[in-house]
Symmetry: C2
Subunit: 187 residues, 2 copies
Amino acid sequence: MRPNKRDELVRKALEVFYRDGFHATGMDKLVVETGVSKTSMYKHFRTKEELILAALRLRDENFRNWFIRRIEDLSETPAGQLIASFDVLKEWFEEDKYRGCMFIKAGAEYQEKDHPIHVQAAEHKRLLLDYMTDLCRKAGVRDPESLGCQLLLLQEGAIVTAVLLKKCDPAQDAKEAAQVLLNHALT
Amino acid sequence: MRPNKRDELVRKALEVFYRDGFHATGMDKLVVETGVSKTSMYKHFRTKEELILAALRLRDENFRNWFIRRIEDLSETPAGQLIASFDVLKEWFEEDKYRGCMFIKAGAEYQEKDHPIHVQAAEHKRLLLDYMTDLCRKAGVRDPESLGCQLLLLQEGAIVTAVLLKKCDPAQDAKEAAQVLLNHALT
DNA sequence: GATAAGATGTACAGATCGGTACATGTTTTC
DNA sequence: GAAAACATGTACCGATCTGTACATCTTATC
């Protein structure tokens, strides 16, 4: 039961869950795709739910690391980073493997508010909200909590709209809206 | 095979699909909940997919009718209606049966872009976008297409955030952001 | 009231679901 | 090299999945 083997299983499961969905992905499919036996799979993860939670943890870590790093690559000032976040979203949307936000989908497939998967999805969004609010505070805007939430709404809206309506360039529209909101909160 | 019987089945299926999700809802459960026999169910709908599509059609009709009617109840001017739309969203979010947007969830569970269910979910969003854009045009804003899309992004963002982050009152934040964007597009 | 036509219920097929029992193979320790 | 500890593969469990075959029941028509 090497620990890196487990990580490899989580990485592959994450890929398949993201691509095909949670209910639509059976453990048998994961066993085939990872090449491991079913017994080994259930040695590492006692239930499918435990595997999903591990995949979500990895996704949260990967995504937020990438998201924040790319934002800081593009701008050095808090105000600039608030705007740059929408350019980073655009990069994400243009990946051909883009399938929307895994946490929105997790929260949608496991809707009970106290379900562990739902709770973990909510936690991811709360961390993103905290990040945006923090940037707003550093940028010295009037009401950081409000603007942080408003910019998060634009991001979330762009994420789901990028799945369903390719034609309307949601990242660009969201960026322009964010700029207007930011200017309004700075003056 | 009375036609109103079919409508009744669609209505009940809509309720269960919205509550529990698509993959998580089996035909057996629907047969039990509707009281009809399995044979009759498959006489009305040849496949589960056909039933889902019928439920989505009904949902689209019900939702857009309700949404637009409530907006027109709250305001008579196009500019006022653009803002009022967020008050209507707030009413929706406060229903205890609120479980997010059925079309976002449908698009998430059936991700292939040419899948009939995905296509129908996208069509719903396109109709909402057209509605918002049309109101923008009537309100005489500078760039109706852009503002329409931006306000849609705020709505979509509020819808998904209302599922995952109850505490941050997304409808209110979205409404304030919409007001700023509208003022900016009018002057 | 006999007969045809359509609606319904039961029972099941074949596949897949999450999960496990158990036998075999591999490594470690003495 | 024997024995204990661990990892793995096969084969299966009962439940549930979508969908169907077929017998029964109701209703309309003559």
